[in-house]
Symmetry: C2
Subunit: 350 residues, 2 copies
């Protein structure tokens, strides 16, 4: 029997959170690139942009004006994908045409008044204020009994479809449980039923012991490249305590989470010396729908860049039609991120 | 009870092939766009490019030279994601770190000697020749008993990660059954077990009766926007006869398929008067693994563009973390594609 070479043989890895396999082709990085090269958006934004609908004092699409806010600022999305007053109803023709109405509420959070201040460039205190807003919003939305799931996320960078460069996040909450959450619930539930422990807690213990994919840890959180990562520099933040939602985080934990976010996003920026694009968001237990003791809070970061600030990984033909695929290994990516400084490259005099 | 308004209320629709729901937000198209606008790649390619590794006579990465071919040309991918001589092996640490080696073979098909000739601009005869190559390749690969699935696909356009503009497709074949095929097998099997008919056959009958999402049909194929489409102008080609792979297509069917591809891709190009990008590929039964009488051959087209040649749909934050989402409805998209001419815009004198 030959040995298993994770760093050179094509192989599949199991995503324990979804039950899905991903294809890894570690030998494929030598492929030349004659394809699309992204523009670098010049990062010379002013602190205040009179045309930005997120800057303090400016007008928004619904006719309102933003207050002269000094920390974060939250409001209902003027072009929400989900609406609160959607009638509940359903259709089903022969199990072939099947649809249900969906209620929801979409919120926007401007992270700070400054048009050009991204998370890695904010202070830990500033990020802690954002974590507080996330927690408050979560608690407030969870009071509406018809809401079953609350998705907190950020699209960062034009390449991730971010429609306004002013650093901001979104919260979409809705009356059904979305696909990814349903998958992760099922897998965590099965593990919990057998072991009476959290799947991610057990996984994190093993990863901390191996120390091959860990990028950073503090008292309350660990940052790692999951064994089954799909995006080249995909990472997860996992809470060391087994809690099922942000609602339960203490003051200490919120500050630790802010620190973990700052360290991770700074390393990201340093990797290709660019404002590193990603979509990131928390996964946590559904609300108003029972207990979910199996659920373990975590946050996913899905960044598209592969080789440089301008060459991304394309999840296209084979990936869309057959199976997610990656080239560099999770271990290689973790090594690169681990060796990055926690000091932002813009602050390092060359 | 209120009526169900597919064209105005946010709702979810079931993808009967995967069992997954998608979120539709039909009211959201009025959203202004301050985000990323794609460059239009100037389409002034020559018929022959001396630096292209797909043009006749030119050298390739492995040191070989292409023959002076006159129709299609097929060869093994010089940077294959899957390799034939990968050892079979597996690892499992506590059901937390789980991986398997994966064997495979990746082929590249140049559609024609001409560097600038895309499918919609080829003749039906020319496309029929490509369909013949697909069928031959499928039959040849299926003779290797270790191959369990053969994915035939095309990435078209820089925006879809196509690394060389010379029109070409790919075939990735492998020793396991990939994720999307596993999902579609399960759903088709359940339907077949109950009804003894093909899921897609029954679906197609209903769609042809309703005639709301049909774009084109000929004797052997129909082109439609599936009820559960995720990408703005996503479509499917479905064979009218219930066959489970391209192996079984007759000469008549192959010509009909070529016609359907020509009509669809021409309408696509006409929609925004651009060489319309997409990833497209066939789904069919696994090979060397039993019978699969439930499987019904079809081809998916996943195009990214939303509003124009330069504004695409981003499947990012919410979509990656929670649930696929679309803005315009399948019915609207089908209406737009139906009204497009079958004459290519480049040939219409203005
Ligand atoms: O094989 P190519 O054209 O070099 O590469 C393209 O298609 C592959 C299969 O969908 C993807 O894995 C790559 O990300 C994409 O850039
Ligand atoms: O809400 P925004 O920033 O206008 O839009 C962005 O995020 C949404 C949620 O991930 C996506 O549906 C959009 O495709 C994307 O452009």
């Amino acid at each position: 029997n030959q040995t298993f070479e994770l760093d050179s043989n094509p192989h599949t890895r199991l995503n324990i959170l979804t039950g899905e396999w991903i294809l890894v082709s570690p030998h494929r990085t030598k492929r030349p690139w004659q394809g699309k090269v992204e523009d670098i958006t010049p990062d010379n934004r002013p602190e205040y942009d009179p045309k930005c609908y997120l800057c303090p004092g400016n007008g928004r699409a619904d006719g309102d004006s933003n207050p002269e806010y000094t920390e974060s600022f939250v409001f209902n999305n003027d072009f929400a994908a989900l609406l609160e007053d959607t009638p509940q109803n359903e259709m089903n023709e022969g199990d072939l045409l099947v649809a249900n109405n969906q209620r929801g509420l979409c919120r926007v959070i401007s992270f700070s008044p400054k048009h050009n201040l991204t998370l890695p460039e904010m202070s830990v205190e500033g990020i802690t204020a954002v974590v507080n807003v996330w927690q408050n919003e979560f608690n407030t939305l969870a009071k509406k009994e018809w809401i079953k799931y609350i998705q907190i996320f950020e699209n960062k960078g034009e390449i991730m479809g971010c429609s306004n460069p002013h650093p901001h996040g979104q919260i979409w909450s809705q009356s059904d449980i979305p696909l990814e959450i349903a998958k992760e619930t099922e897998r965590q539930k099965s593990h919990y039923a057998i072991h009476r422990t959290s799947l991610l807690g057990d996984y994190l213990k093993l990863e901390l012991k191996k120390n091959e994919r860990i990028i950073f840890e503090n008292d309350h959180f660990a940052v790692l490249v999951p064994f089954w990562a799909v995006w080249p520099y995909e990472t997860m933040i996992i809470s060391k305590r087994h809690v099922n939602s942000i609602k339960l985080f203490t003051e200490d934990e919120k500050r630790s989470l802010a620190e973990a976010i700052k360290v991770l996003t700074t390393k990201y920026d340093n990797l290709f010396e660019t404002s590193f694009p990603y979509s990131a968001g928390m996964h946590q237990a559904p609300v108003n729908n029972g207990d979910y003791p199996e659920w373990h809070w975590h946050m996913h970061f899905y960044p598209p860049l592969l080789r440089s600030a301008t060459v991304k990984k394309f999840m296209v033909g084979y990936e869309m039609l057959a199976n997610p695929q990656r080239d560099i290994t999770a271990e290689f990516a973790a090594g690169r991120l681990r060796e990055m400084s926690t000091e932002h490259y813009k602050n390092i005099k060359k």
